[in-house]
Amino acid sequence: MALIKLVRTFAVMFPVVVVAFSARGADTVKLGLIEPFSGPIAAVGRDTLEIFEFFANEVNQRGGVLGGRHIEIVPLDNAMNAEKTTQQLRKVIDDDIRFVSQGVGSNHALNIIKFLQRHNRRNPDQAILYLNHSAVTTSFTNELCSFWHFRFDANVDMKVAALVTQLGRDSSVQKLYMLNQNYAYGQAFQAAAQQMLAERAPGIELVGDELIVPFGKVLDFTPYIAKIKAAGADTVLTGNWGPDLVRFVKAASEANLDASFYTIYAGIPSSVAGIGAKDGIATRLKQVTEMHENDPLYDQQPAELLDTYDRWRQQTGKSIYSERMRWTIEFFAAALDKAGSDDPALVAAAMEGMTMDGPAGPLVMRGEDHQIIFPMVISTMAEDLERPYIYEGDNYEVAFATDGWIMSDAIELPTSCEMKRP
């Protein structure tokens, strides 16, 4: 198994190099993908690239865009260093790439938004459009909103709105404990949750509200678990991700804490792998996503989409996790065709207000702030499901089962965006 992974590591690495240096045909529409392809979280960047290339290829196989042109994904490594993201944007300009995508890390997204705001104002003939597939800082579609930025993921406030709505429905939730990472994202999660709990679930008592030093600095979560237990909480709400989530959940399980865990990111591959079936099920671990493979609506999707999913699983040995990345490609392709041009300004105009069918309701790219709106689903980790979670060929034996859908009207939040259009 280890050897297979070694081979696979190389197999994944080589296309990055090969594609990066392949001949740049004039007939392709290039989409630069700026993500970490090296360094400690390169796995996330490579997963993203694999999804983008797969679904861009799907569009190309269907006949491409703009009457036969292909979408070409150009990977650009930022090594999770915000300065390198800026360097890669300069390369994007030099190589005359007019569309970029990024999503891992809101600080990188902020860099791109600010950089392009300035660049596009000064160089309207060489404007670049940014498709944000996963960076969730709410202000990107509020006070920092930009005509050149489109977001295909729900922002933090929307995800919290979905989680809190579900908390309000769950009659077993009486006493809630919040624990978040003490930096921009965790604080935004905390503030949104405080406000929405008061509005949407006033019956729930908030018995603890804690911020921790983020990014793996906390090695041992047992004192926090002891505080949660002492506070008598029956439910935990956390925006934690990475080791801060994995260690938190494992410590809770080890101490037999009898509480449900409401999270955003429990379902990403590294979380599922790190937490494992036993601890995830013991803590009734929940996630909020745009879709998951074991939802009853899965089989009701169009037959060709289900075929595509099957091919994805066979080809990559991975479960479907990020629908939002597929949506990014699909919206991009549709907007190119609708605009009838690869001029970023026209493509951006075409994308405003665009809708597509989602699994539980329409996906709407709201024109006023470029924030996508769609129904979200809360699900809990469980065993014995039809499609257990697979990643790089390993079967984790668990997956998620639906608790309930939160429709768009409960997720759509007002925006303070005052968009300046060119």
């Binding site: 280890a2 992974k5 070694l6 590591t9 400690p40 979280i41 390169a42 796995a43 490579r46 003490n182 804690e210 911020l211 921790i212 030093v213 793996g216 600095k217 906390v218 090695l219 041992d220 047992t222 004192p223 926090y224 678990i225 002891a226 505080k227 237990k229 002492a230 080791p243 994995v246 260690r247 494992k250 410590a251 080890e254 101490a255 037999n256 591959p269 590294s270 792998a273 790190g274 494992g276 079936a277 036993k278 990643y391 790089e392 984790y396």
Partner: protein
């Protein structure tokens, strides 16, 4: 009072885990003078080997075999890597171990992938041993404590009372005389380094399933291990133990007694401005800064007592 004792007990549990992590590092430093930057990487190797072995056999086999393999790897690195570098002095050694840390991290990612591996606490020990203040202590927590104490006692006895310990200590202070007596100094150093790495391996086996086994674990654990040995005094085994316990207890107390800066200022009878420039500062609580306290202690220690609590060497 009972919650104070509760916090103290948790602090001791956590402190002993830190000691376990730092024991091999302080051994290598005190016996060889080598500041091994790759120490946390050997810890990571221990965790990954333990995962692989416990997949095939079981946890107990991993507890024996994984540290031995890590020790052999460490000895090999000393023999063919560190020894040739030794003559260029401590800075070269330090840079060498720095490089080794990166190489190990990349190798681990190539072999086991970049996502965490599911290395779990053995089922037999995941049950609760006792419950205190409504908090279940698993058998495994106590097992970790026992392993840490056993390692300290064994190390202390080995260095103080055995012939091997005597030779090792003599080889440090007076290598020429020891060599004249017919002892092979490079060989002693090789096995000391290997043994220190094996201790990191033990910590990896025991701690990897609690902390999570992933490629970034070495980078995350590296700094705190250095804090332990610097506060304790470079090269002092007892110092590392005391420092680890102090860090464990202080951070636990800070989390349990969650005082805010604002409330402390009010308690001193001073007026406080909660809306002005110091707004964010007054909202800080001790629980939020708990993981940073060890580094504050490190800075203060270097200013006021650069040799650490029980150190005999300068940093």
């Amino acid at each position: 009072m009972e919650s104070f004792i509760f916090a103290m007990f948790n602090g001791v549990l956590y402190g002993m885990l830190l000691f376990l992590l730092a024991s091999g590092l302080t051994l290598i430093f005190s016996m060889m003078g080598v500041l091994n930057f790759a120490h946390a990487s050997f810890f990571m190797l221990g965790a990954y080997f333990a995962y692989q072995i416990s997949e095939g056999l079981n946890f107990w086999a991993a507890l024996i075999v994984a540290p031995v393999i890590v020790g052999m790897v460490g000895a090999g690195i000393e023999r063919w890597g560190l020894r040739p570098v030794h003559r260029y002095g401590h800075v070269a050694e330090l840079l060498f171990t720095f490089g080794v840390a990166y190489v190990i991290e990349e190798l681990v990612q190539m072999i086991w992938g970049r996502v965490p591996v599911p290395y779990e606490i053995p089922d037999a020990m995941s049950g609760a041993l006792f419950t205190w203040q409504g908090f279940d202590y698993s058998i495994y927590r106590v097992f970790m404590l026992v392993v840490s104490v056993a390692i300290f006692v064994a190390l202390f006895a080995l260095l103080t009372y055995t012939r091997i310990g005597l030779i090792i200590r003599a080889a440090v202070s007076d290598p020429i005389h020891v060599a004249t007596l017919g002892h092979d100094i490079p060989r002693i150093f090789m096995w000391t380094f290997g043994f220190g790495c094996a201790l990191a391996g033990v910590a990896g086996v025991v701690g990897g399933n609690v902390l999570g086994t992933e490629p970034a674990m070495a980078i995350q654990l590296g700094p705190i291990v250095f804090v332990v040995i610097v506060i304790g005094g470079l090269g002092s085994l007892g110092g590392a133990l005391v420092a680890a316990l102090i860090i464990g207890i202080v951070t636990r107390l800070a989390i349990f007694y969650d005082y805010g800066v604002g409330s402390l200022v009010l308690a001193l009878g001073l007026e406080i401005d909660t809306a002005g420039m110091l707004r964010d500062f007054t909202r800080i609580t001790t629980a939020q800064v708990a993981p940073v306290l060890p580094y504050l202690m490190l800075v203060l220690m270097l200013i006021f007592k650069p040799r650490g609590l029980f150190g005999t060497r300068d940093v």
